[in-house]
Amino acid sequence: MSAPVAAARPPVTVDDRDRVAPPRPRDLTLPLVALGLGAAVAAALVGLLVGPIRLPVGAVVGALVDRLPGAEVAHGLDAASTTILFEIRWPRVILGLAVGALLSGSGAAYQGVFRNPLADPYLLGVAAGAGLGATLAIVTGTASLAGGFALPAAAFVGAVLAVLATAGLSLRRGRPSGPAALILAGVAVAALLAAVQTYLLQRHADSLRAVYGWLLGRLSTVGWAEVRLVLPVLIVTAVVLVLAAGRIDVLAVGDEEATTLGVRPGPTRAAILAVASLATATAVAVSGLIGFVGLIVPHGVRLIAGTGNRRVVPLSMLFGAAFLTLADVAARTVQAPAELPIGVITAFVGAPAFLLILRSQQGRA
């Protein structure tokens, strides 16, 4: 019955510990990062090469290397081709990579934080808010102000306000409550904003086509302006989400257990969702509502690389970047010179690809 008083606790079986190599959890590994980066770079190359005007592979690679500081390579691209490469395709490819990374990374974070495989980055009202903001800008004729940047600005403000409204409505006695309250508040806010948007469209039928075009999403750029807007957000999002991914894994055991493991669930969830929502709002502002990316890319990564958000979040960003860039290539070539809405491509290609991965994994299990 007697027990020693708490004093020096002997370390656990030190001998065994040093003899056997401990297993690895499913963290990020170098080969996986290389794979993701390789996919993104390959997709970017395809994006640069494919278009209405053929650019030879060697010349494009040469011109790219030539741009590196200290490198000088004779690439043989004429002035017009150089302009197409660096002023039209390059910014568009970069934008595609960035938007794909933002939507996929946010989707992975949302699914982890909400412990819900069906959560997507539009869950908390980003899509409805951005849609209403863009609709307002278009029907009031202010969309073209500020060199065309009034439209993304309106969409961004609408998206941020919608998420803030959702967060505010989900508070219980001024304190953050659980994820379920947040999801329900998001559904209510989205329904309300969609109703207002529908009403506005009914009253301004002449704007239908413009609004519809925006809603379906597109990656059209005016030089580098959009890229300059998105890149800082991408960097912040990548750093925060990749570092916080381990915390998302802790949240997976539920709020009470997470607390006993030393993590404050409310503030942790709020911080991650704030960054993911900001990322989504930025992506939507410059590209419209591109559906499905935030849902299928993280799931594809999970099915192939396994669960564990330290792995899923960064890989989702890399493969999401590759996926959206390739989808954009399809969008601008399938019906060239006309462009298909990229949202159509992501759904049309994404859904069967996703089902294929799902079925092959089930067969293996």
Binding site: A3, A6, R9, T13, P23, P25, R26, L243
Partner: protein, 290 residues
């Protein structure tokens, strides 16, 4: 020195008082068994100790009253009654979660964290399950993995809520024996809520009894577990014998059909089946004739 000091602990949930005025001292390296009928407040006491419920009064763990999760988690590890098992997680990854209080934001688990996690799995003879999906393990194996997650935090105080609730008799004993070994090995202070009076009589250094949110008894097993107290708080007839080590054997009997001890049968109390605690207030209670 007391590893756990509780003073004036009170918890009110949605207007209902669940715990009131609880004072407790748990000496370092000892095992306190917390007993009480259903609804007595045992789980709430665990939640108050682990800092997951708002409460009045103070809880000091190792002399520290800081109730911020990160500080509390380094001093006190919790084995919950029904742990949430994330889908697809391996036993090793689950145990690694126990190192969270010592980790900042980082890209991957450190070698030290991985070694400690493997060490605990080896100590609990679980290393062959390390890469198995935790959801596919049996109840007894899973409970030991959950215990491993608590141990790997290196917290000196271990709080367990019904650690044997879903286990068969052999596994119940196995887990409690393992805890007793770890208590000796590592000088752990253990606070465990227990349903089974027979187990409590065998394993606790001291026992505390909660009834209707109050601490109604605290002492050695021989002091707390007597036929009279078992009749009073649980409303059943029992005999007890105390062995040389101070362990208590509890044997529970069915009531005699002739109505002996009728005053304490569950249906006789003014509030129906909850008469176990009703009698605790002394209404018409007489200890059953032995």
């Amino acid at each position: 020195m007391s590893a756990v000091v509780v003073r004036g602990l009170g918890v009110t949930i949605d207007g209902a008082v669940v715990l009131r005025d609880v004072d407790l001292d748990v000496a370092g390296g000892t095992w306190l068994g917390v007993l009480g009928p259903n609804g007595a407040g045992k789980t709430t006491l665990v939640r108050a100790l682990s800092g997951t419920v708002r409460h009045a009064g103070t809880v000091a763990i190792g002399g520290d009253v800081d109730r911020r999760p990160a500080a509390r988690a380094r001093r006190l590890a919790v084995v919950p009654q029904t742990p949430v098992i994330p889908p697809g997680i391996t036993a090793f990854e689950y145990v690694l979660l126990g190192r969270t209080p010592h980790q900042g934001l980082r890209l991957s688990a450190s070698l030290d964290d991985r070694r400690r996690s493997l060490g605990v799995l080896q100590r609990l003879e679980l290393e062959r399950f390390a890469t198995r999906d935790l959801g596919t393990l049996s109840g007894g194996e899973r409970q030991r993995v959950v215990l491993a997650r608590a141990l790997v935090s290196d917290a000196p105080v271990l709080v367990l809520d019904e650690p044997t609730a879903a286990l068969d008799l052999g596994h119940q004993f196995g887990i409690l024996e393992l805890l007793a070994e770890l208590q000796r090995e590592r000088g752990l202070t253990i606070v465990a809520t227990l349903h089974d009076l027979a187990m409590a009589g065998q394993f606790g250094d001291r026992l505390a009894v909660l009834s209707e949110g109050r601490l109604v008894a605290e002492g050695t097993p021989a002091e707390v577990l007597t036929p009279a107290t078992i009749g009073r708080w649980w409303g059943v007839d029992a005999t007890t014998t105390v062995d040389a080590d101070g362990r208590v054997d509890v044997t529970v009997r069915r009531r005699a059909a002739d109505g002996a001890g009728r005053a304490t049968t569950p249906t006789s109390g003014p509030e129906g089946r909850r008469s176990g605690s009703v009698v605790a207030r002394g209404e018409g209670f007489e200890p059953p004739a032995a």
